[in-house]
Amino acid sequence: MDKVTERELMRGVRLTCVRAERFKTGYLSMTLLAPHTKKTASLNAVLPYVLRRGTARLPDMESIAARLDGLYGARIDPAIRKKGEVAAMGFCADFPDGAFLPGRPDILSPVAYLMGELLLSPATRGGRLRADFVESERRNLIDDINAEINDRRAYAGQRLVELMFRGESYGVSKLGTIADTGRVTVQILTRYYKELLSTAPMEVFYCGAEDPDRVERVVREALSALPRSGEHTLPSTVFGSTKPVGPVRTVREVMDVTQGRLCMGFRLEPPPEGLELPAMLVFNTLFGGCATSRLYLNVREKLALCYYVSSGIDRFKGALFVFAGIDFPSFDRVRDEITGELEAIARGEMEPWELESARRAVVSSIYSAMDEQAGLEELYLDRAILGLRPEPGELAALCADVTAEEVARVAQSAHLSHIYFLTAEGDDAEET
């Protein structure tokens, strides 16, 4: 078993260390947690990319990249994640373990110092972030938002979330909107950056062969310039919608596609305390989350109605999504088959083997994530945001014990809210 230590390094800064010797690399991340709102999404999305452009000591990307190449191709990448209504933003690094390099050099310390430098000591002019960096990263972010359309499946999913959570923070993409990105200025971003540094809680994660005490010393040193004056309240995320569930709305949008993309969004009621996550995970896997799921075996394989069909759950927001690639005329049929499967599960109609396969699939996906450093990082970050007690290994054990009744209860609590259909036929339309 990996030895996990969790410590508070300074006000609002927590370090999680997973000591594991099986990897060829070390993994380090520093993540600031801030509210995800319409106003802050673009700021959160653009900030790590601006910081990555240059530091006081290494003034451009070329010198940062040269430094990283010298560290045997260590990678430090900006990361922006949306966890419910929490934005998790910062840097993730992975680097070869010194044990496999000529002369066994220490790579952790220089990587941690460079990450600290990127976060805390950016290149500035007159006390502000550099205007040219802000301007070009703002343009890049607008390009990224525009490019979301290139991946039809992800685009359709994002449109569904926007429609379903219109007017709510959760409805905003993690990249924000083009209009809000257009309003980012050097002044606004610099002020926001300084405020974040002094108030946002930070999660530091390390996984690798190093001793946790040494990791702690190195990280403390790397973050010694972090101003820690304000309050560090963990931003909260609300399970469920602030709006009542109204009648189901169907939105069709027309694009030049050869295949239709159908997305359905359901809201979940908050489940009873303590049971929520394991039951949700097993339910989702049984419904549409694996190769023995209802949607895969019945709607895709047996009825041959879709090329792909799967379901996903947002454990932070309490929302269930179904994504399917279908022929345009099959829309009504597929929609009805999908809701039919959900209703059957809600009535408790599931075979013992189905439940057992779903439980096994959830357990092995958690184990599989635990076999990868980035997977472990995500599991521990999710746990920090949700304030959950169980360790990932314990979570897997809880999932193995989920009953048919608990799965049915999750299905009963799902209410269809919105349907989005990306199609090449007809005109854009919205109907209730």
């Binding site: 594991a20 010797e21 099986r22 060829k24 690399t25 990319y49 451009d60 990307m61 070329e62 990249a65 040269a66 990283l68 190449d69 010298g70 560290l71 045997y72 191709g73 260590a74 992975d94 070869p96 373990d97 044990a99 496999f100 390099l101 070009s136 343009r139 890049n140 390009d143 990224d144 938002i145 525009n146 490019a147 979301e148 359309i149 290139n150 991946d151 039809r152 694009m255 030049d256 596609v257 050869t258 295949q259 190769a291 023995t292 075996l297 041959a304 090329y307 690639g325 022929d327 057992e356 396969s357 096994r360 699939a361 357990v363 092995s364 996906s365 184990y367 599989s368 990868e372 450093q373």
Partner: protein, 426 residues
Amino acid sequence: MLKKREYPRIGETIYSGQLPCGLTVTVAPRSGYKKSVAFLAVNCGGADRGVYLDGVRRAVPPGTAHFAEHRMFELPDLGDAMTVLSRRGANANAFTGPDMTAYYFECGEGFYDNLELLLRLVSTPCFREEDVDREREIIAREILMTEDDPEDAMYYALLRALYARAPVREPVAGTVESISAITADTLQDFHRAFYVPANMSLVVVGNQDPEKIRDMAEALIPSGPAILPKRDAREREPEKPVEYRVESEGEIGAPMFLAGAKTAADLRGRESVSFELTAELALGCLMGSASPLYRQLYDQGLINETFGYDFENVAGYSHLTFGGETRDASLVCLKVLEEAAALASRGIDPDYFARRKRKMYGSCIRALNSFDSICYNAAAGSFEGYDYFDTLTALDAVTERDVRAFLAEFMTPERTAVSVINKKGR
């Protein structure tokens, strides 16, 4: 007995060998992991368009290898092996590339039961006409879906611009038209020709017993003479592309391009590893994120995060590509080719070259974290005749002069074609 070999530089102990039937077995034992992966690769893929049976060549339509992969999971007694594996909590899948078809699973428990199924499924063809007809619909949908992907479309447009005849110019899955000609007999022939033990490679990564794996493979893979299938001769390709510029329109966020050039053909063994490392080092020195050129183009807003480069060596053909979103593809290509010529003639700064080499060293180490990557590369090595776990030795030998020679020979305007997608107004 499998041969045990230590690789102290990368901290690996590898067991490998060839069974009397010709199957290659490679085991990389790993402790401390919950998962194990087994990967059974067949040395055939989308680029194989002819089967030789009983001394006669029969042409098969584009998409045959991929179609066969889709139907291999069907077992006469058990039905769909994917469902069986999935029910047991294993995560199973398969893919078809231009020159490799592979079946694999990842699991925590029940490894040997799952391995048994994996070994059986490749040696038990079960192509029924009605299943084949049904599968055609499913594959047609898959093809339509990828045709909706603008980047895929841009990539294949480039390959068609580069190659005059090589089968790699067509998509691995074929087209809706080409697969309409595939029948149960086509699949049966394809299987008989290519799914022979000498043409397959089993790789296992995980906390498992190498000898037990060997014994199971020997028991479950049909024995027979270890003979490699006959294949079509490689098409001779001119150095220059067929077309220099191809353009299309799509519903995309920003205009993008992919440029490329054919490089060396028919690389084998150690030579192919050395060439691949040289190519990656050359492309990295020229336009990697630490290069002066990258910074210059990025600062001018000509490229963004999406810019990247790649080198592919598949089915006896190799080519380099580079591209990303840009407002001016011609200008980016021009600058890249100018800088390539400049580097080739004036040489590469020794410190810079040493750092780029360190970065490559680090990526070779990092790749060993990924079970999937180990499986793919070890199988490709066994087909191509090199030892993947010895890559660092090949890297040590790559010199600045090799890199300059690569840039001078292959990164020239005469060899380079570009595929552009412009934004269509809605």
